[in-house]
């Protein structure tokens, strides 16, 4: 077996496959289970200041023809206070990051400070700032497309905590590089990309949008080429200095390798879990495929990063 331990900045995880935010991760039991099934690390559902019940259903629809999911969950969460209690129950061996959304730098600071104080027993490997949810008002994409706001938020978080700050970006923007640049100059420890892509669906019989929120975000296999392009662009601009976590439509070892060749340090997986009763098989397949590929190529995992640029 090739060494698949992965270093994301200063964070070391046992393999490069991370559970992405909003899939499974609403409870401590699922985070524990996901880690036990083999993920290198797991990400929580995004949490905000106040409890939110999310948008009316239908809010998550699978589209089999394109193996993709349309969702407008609307950042449902119990609020940071209750959620930090939930996270205290996570097993001490589990490597997890906490995904956070907010509408201002003070909101982000407040949540991070509370988490820092409450999670001393088992500190998260990172706070992942969700500056990219496309279907909630005043948060996510609303703050994540303006380079100045992104700078202020990231800087405010960096001064509050020693835990690494990862910034999750949206592809729903013409120039993702300038937002990434703001995040990095404000001290971001890694960039995570991509979140879902704005999309919708209309029922032709009742002639109305299907999602309770009318529009939502697309994830799954259809968005993979978009995610690969974003990682490629970011690597081209920033090189190997800043860790990049590639996410969007990954469901096989080939997809994972594609992202790594484009410049990703690690990857996240969400929608692909729909094909499995337990993620163990999926993770196993990807790690095996990755290993075999590396030995065929005679390369180490870290040597693979960004090779498509040479």
């Amino acid at each position: 077996m090739t060494e698949l331990k992965t270093l994301i900045g200063t964070v070391r995880i046992r393999n490069p496959i991370i559970l992405s935010s909003g899939i499974w991760g609403s409870t401590y039991s699922t985070l524990n289970r996901a880690y036990k099934e083999g993920f290198g690390a797991v990400t929580t559902k995004s949490v905000g200041l106040n409890p939110r019940k999310g948008h009316p259903n239908p809010s998550v629809i699978y589209i089999p023809e394109i193996k993709s999911i349309l969702n407008a969950v609307g950042l449902a969460n119990p609020g940071y206070d209750a959620f930090s209690e939930e996270l205290r129950e996570i097993n001490p061996d589990v490597k997890y990051s906490v995904s956070i959304f907010g509408s201002s730098s003070t909101e982000f600071q407040q949540i991070i400070q509370h988490m820092d104080n409450n999670l001393t027993g088992n500190t998260p490997i990172a706070y992942e700032l969700n500056l990219s949810c496309p279907h909630a008002k005043k948060v996510g994409i609303a703050v994540g497309t303006d380079p100045n706001i992104v700078y202020t938020i990231v800087e405010a978080c960096k001064v509050r905590t020693k835990v690494p700050i990862w910034v999750k970006l949206t592809p729903n923007i013409t120039n993702i590089k300038s937002v990434a640049e703001s995040a990095i100059s404000a001290g971001a420890d890694a960039i995570v990309a991509i979140n879902t892509i704005k999309a919708m669906m209309i029922d032709i019989h009742i002639k109305k949008p299907v999602l309770g929120n009318i529009s939502g975000g697309l994830s799954g296999q259809a968005i993979k080429p978009i995610g690969v392009r974003v990682i490629y662009d970011l690597y081209e601009r920033f090189g190997s200095e800043i860790p990049l976590v590639g996410v969007g439509g990954i469901s096989s070892w080939q997809d994972a390798i594609e992202y790594i060749l484009a410049g990703a340090t690690a990857i996240q997986i969400g929608s692909a879990l729909i094909d499995y009763d337990a993620p163990q098989t999926l993770i196993h397949n990807i790690l095996n495929g990755l290993n075999e590929y590396l030995s065929r190529e005679g390369k180490s995992f870290s040597q693979l990063r960004g090779l498509a640029h040479e």
């Binding site: 909003g22 899939i23 499974w24 991760g25 609403s26 409870t27 401590y28 039991s29 699922t30 524990n32 289970r33 996901a34 559902k45 409890p51 939110r52 019940k53 999310g54 009316p56 259903n57 239908p58 809010s59 998550v60 629809i61 699978y62 589209i63 089999p64 999911i69 969702n71 969950v73 449902a76 969460n77 119990p78 609020g79 209750a82 959620f83 669906m201 029922d203 019989h205 009742i206 109305k208 299907v210 309770g212 969400g270 929608s271 879990l273 729909i274 009763d277």
Partner: protein
């Protein structure tokens, strides 16, 4: 797991029939397009979408020839109440079947325990067992009061054994179905017959049943359908319905669980979660 055909994108169908079973409960019929071959299993559910309102999970109450499908809806929240205001001919979006249904076992005696609305999915398993010529079927049918013993006439027309009970004593035995179950299992011990237990109803009742089957070492032969919990996606992705303990989902790993699995689910019978993910005591 065999891949089952499933409707993933809500399919809008007209309500072909709507029959009130009680003041706040009605059975809705729909005709599925003939080519779908969904072959649903008793205990599975559909997501029913009321356009402009919301979408809720409802167990399959009956299906004939893979075509005429029925759902029994009881008015509890805002959306189910709005369902009961619908009329024949109105459009409802259907996606499913979802979830893990009941295993149809070949045990000699099938004991079916229904509490209140729990009779709806069990009605589907009763007809399935009858069609497979199950030797002996015993139904313990409980409800708060006489008027809530739904499908009484229909079930009386079959030749299964039925024991009724009501919380208020207005019909049948005055007390909970669990008391009758205990009695039956005690008697059955002497007869050396094999049993399979199928149950659905309020979680407190299911918890009572689990305690009893445990005493008789029957937890592996007892199946429980957990209704009344919040479901959003239906396919195990969004995290809304996961139960604490070993981290199993209601929507995909359930809603039917065997007793030995339920024992590992610490939330069972004690905690639920609402749409924002916060926990509440049942």
């Amino acid at each position: 797991m065999n891949k089952q055909n499933r409707i993933e994108i809500p399919l809008c169908l007209t309500i072909t029939d709507l029959v009130f079973e009680g003041e706040k409960t009605a059975t809705f019929s729909f005709h599925l397009p003939a080519n779908l071959e969904l072959n649903p299993i008793p205990g599975q559910y559909f997501m029913l979408w009321l356009p402009g309102d919301d979408e809720i999970p409802i167990s399959i109450s009956q299906i004939e020839n893979n075509e005429k499908i029925q759902f029994t809806i009881c008015s509890k929240g805002q959306t189910s109440a709005n369902f009961l205001r619908m009329n024949k001919g109105d459009l409802v979006g259907l996606r499913g079947p979802y979830g893990n249904g009941f295993d149809i076992s070949d045990k000699e005696v099938a004991i079916i325990i229904a509490g209140g609305m729990g009779i709806a999915p069990l009605r589907f398993i009763i007809s399935t067992l009858i069609s497979r010529t199950q030797k002996k079927i015993l139904l313990i049918h409980g409800a708060r009061t006489h008027d809530e013993l739904f499908f009484k006439e229909e079930l009386n027309n079959t030749d299964i054994d039925i024991r009724y009970c009501t919380d208020d004593g207005s019909f049948g035995f005055h007390g909970f179905p669990t008391i009758i179950l205990e009695e039956i299992l005690q008697k059955a011990q002497q007869k050396n017959l094999s049993h399979e237990i199928y149950s659905c109803g309020p979680e407190k009742m299911l918890k009572g049943i689990l305690d009893i089957v445990n005493q008789f070492n029957l937890e592996k032969n007892a199946q429980f359908s957990l209704a009344d919990r919040y479901i959003r996606c239906g396919f195990g992705i969004c995290g809304s319905c996961y139960l604490d303990g070993v981290g199993l989902s209601i929507c995909r790993d359930g809603p039917v669980f065997r007793g030995d699995v339920l024992q590992k689910i610490t939330d069972f019978g004690s905690f639920g979660r609402n749409a924002n993910g916060s926990k509440y005591r049942l």
